[in-house]
Amino acid sequence: MRDQVLGVGSWVLVGKGIFDMRKIWVVAKMSLLENSRKQVFHVLCLVMLALIASSMLLSIFTEGVRLKILKDICMTSILFGGSALAIALGSMGIPNDVESRTIYPIFARPISRSQYITGKFLGTMLTVFLGVLAMTIVFAALIASFNGGFDPYLLLAVAFTLLEVCIVAAIATTISVFASPAVTAAFTFMIYICGTIKIGYFGGMIERTADGISKSLFGVIYHILPNLECFNLKASLVHHDPVPASYLAQVAVYGLCYSAFVLFIGMVKFGRREV
């Protein structure tokens, strides 16, 4: 096992592996083409767009409150829409390729499994990006129709939402390496919920628990779970509160590193899987 991990690791880090972008891009492009034809992509995008567009009906509120509620609803829609897309597409990509056997001709090529996983992940993220982009355009148009201008905070909030979705997609991709799409989607959704309430719920549990074993258990869960709440810049968008650049940089690095680490686990696991 140790040799396997070291073998895959060295291939990923030192060899041509993960840095051969051409092969990764081919898999990502294929994945994007495939995902963008899936019904789940069309349905989720349409539902979220409809939800965002329905914010137009908030005319019962005063103008200031209406804009705040609009931003709140739209950001929540983008976050949930993006996460739902990441969970649905991320959990189906690899199992579908294995099930439909389209993976055989691909794996018969000089492509490492780490490149394949990276390509599938990128394909999922590109598809999610397209969906989020469509939602963001409608959202930006709505804000513009309310206050007559473009809100630069919107781009920042959406960018960090995409980083959050990136972690969700990485988790779904990694779990899908060894589980069925349904199990992957369920587990990823659980992790997503736990990651969102991590600070408030698990942090409080650790403080409140007196029992040593339970405290350690909650501590482990707390540290393994991603902190998804830190990507939420909704308040900053709604209230135009400035966010320190150092905080943004830290959160961005955290998101990218967490996603990379989760994907690395998937690569190690998939490296020796029989197909």
């Binding site: 291939w11 051409r22 092969k23 081919v26 492009k29 294929m30 083409l33 495939e34 034809r37 439909s100 056997r101 389209t102 055989y104 001709p105 691909i106 794996f107 018969a108 090529r109 000089p110 492509i111 490492s112 020796r272 029989e274 197909v275």
Partner: protein
């Protein structure tokens, strides 16, 4: 400098764990073969003999329980070996929304073909397998036979030294079969090595330079087709329709009787020729035709796999 064999396996073994109580099932048992350069190597065996397992091991889709395999001297676990290999799965599956030209472009890129060379190479390969006119038709609109040809084109796109083909004529009509068989011979003549798994033994017999026969994971025959077939030849005699009583008398001499139009074909070991002819003469039966035949590869396969 000594050239490495295109394909070598050394005591290649694969066991599947079935569970704690059932233990393990041996799908492939100590397979040791060498495929020389520039030959068509027929890999035969009934269903469940371990052919697909072997191919999966050669392509590193799974890892052997013990033993090893190499392509051009490199272990199959090294992804670089697959740059030298073109693979056609038993039933090629591609994304159905893609067109053949897109499938080939994708596989050419994965095989490391230079970007500017891809369109030219893809068109040439489609032309070669006889489906140039379907280059822009989505796979979902193609018949099984045409999809199979896309699969063959896909295997050829990287200009591999070794082709691993699993049932290449599956789903093809007689013209397609003839075309593919001729293509394999042409590729061999160009110096490519072809590792071919097939059930259509008559085709294999005509084109294969070497064969290996697997039975329940074990190698039961290996070598040139002439060496795999039995040395013993048998005699075929065509006579008139036989009376049931004559059937009984001939069966004592281990004669196989097959009706053929209004006549009967008698098939027996050549050592029994004198005695069979005596019986036919005694019954005043005519002999229309007589010839000796050697065991076909199909008959050898049936004998070995039985």
């Amino acid at each position: 400098m000594k050239m490495s064999k295109p394909l070598t396996t050394d005591n290649l073994t694969k066991q599947y764990k079935l569970g704690k109580k059932q233990g393990a099932k041996t799908a492939l048992d100590s397979l040791s073969i060498e495929v020389p350069e520039g030959v068509i190597f027929g890999f035969l065996g009934p269903n469940g003999a371990g052919k697909t397992t072997t191919i999966k091991l050669l392509l590193d889709f799974m890892q052997p329980t013990s033993g090893s395999a190499s392509v051009m001297g490199l272990p199959t676990s090294n992804p670089a070996t697959r740059k030298l290999v073109g693979y056609l799965p038993e039933e090629p599956y591609f994304h159905r929304f893609l067109k053949p030209i897109e499938v080939l472009s994708m596989h050419a890129a994965l095989a490391g073909v230079a970007k500017r060379e891809i369109p030219k190479r893809a068109s040439a390969v489609l032309e070669r397998v006889g489906i140039a006119e379907y280059a822009d038709t989505p796979i979902s609109k193609l018949s099984k036979g045409l999809t199979q040809r896309v699969g063959i084109a896909q295997a050829l796109i990287g200009d591999p030294k070794l082709l691993i083909l699993d049932e290449p004529t599956s789903g093809l009509d007689p013209i397609g079969r003839r075309h593919t068989t001729q293509l394999l011979v042409d590729l061999r003549n160009e110096g490519k090595t072809i590792f071919l798994s097939s059930h259509v033994l008559s085709e294999i017999e005509n084109v294969c330079d070497m064969v290996a026969v697997l039975k329940r994971g074990k190698l039961v025959a290996y070598g040139e087709p002439d060496k795999v077939r039995s040395e013993e030849s048998f005699v075929m005699v065509q006579t008139s329709k036989l009376h049931p009583e004559t059937h009984e008398r001939l069966r004592f001499l281990d004669v196989i009787i097959e009706p053929f139009n209004d006549t009967a074909l008698l098939k027996f070991d050549r050592n029994n020729l004198y005695r069979v002819m005596l019986v036919l003469e005694g019954l005043s039966l005519p002999v229309y035709n007589i010839n000796t035949q050697r065991e076909s590869l199909e008959e050898a396969f049936l004998r070995l796999a039985a």
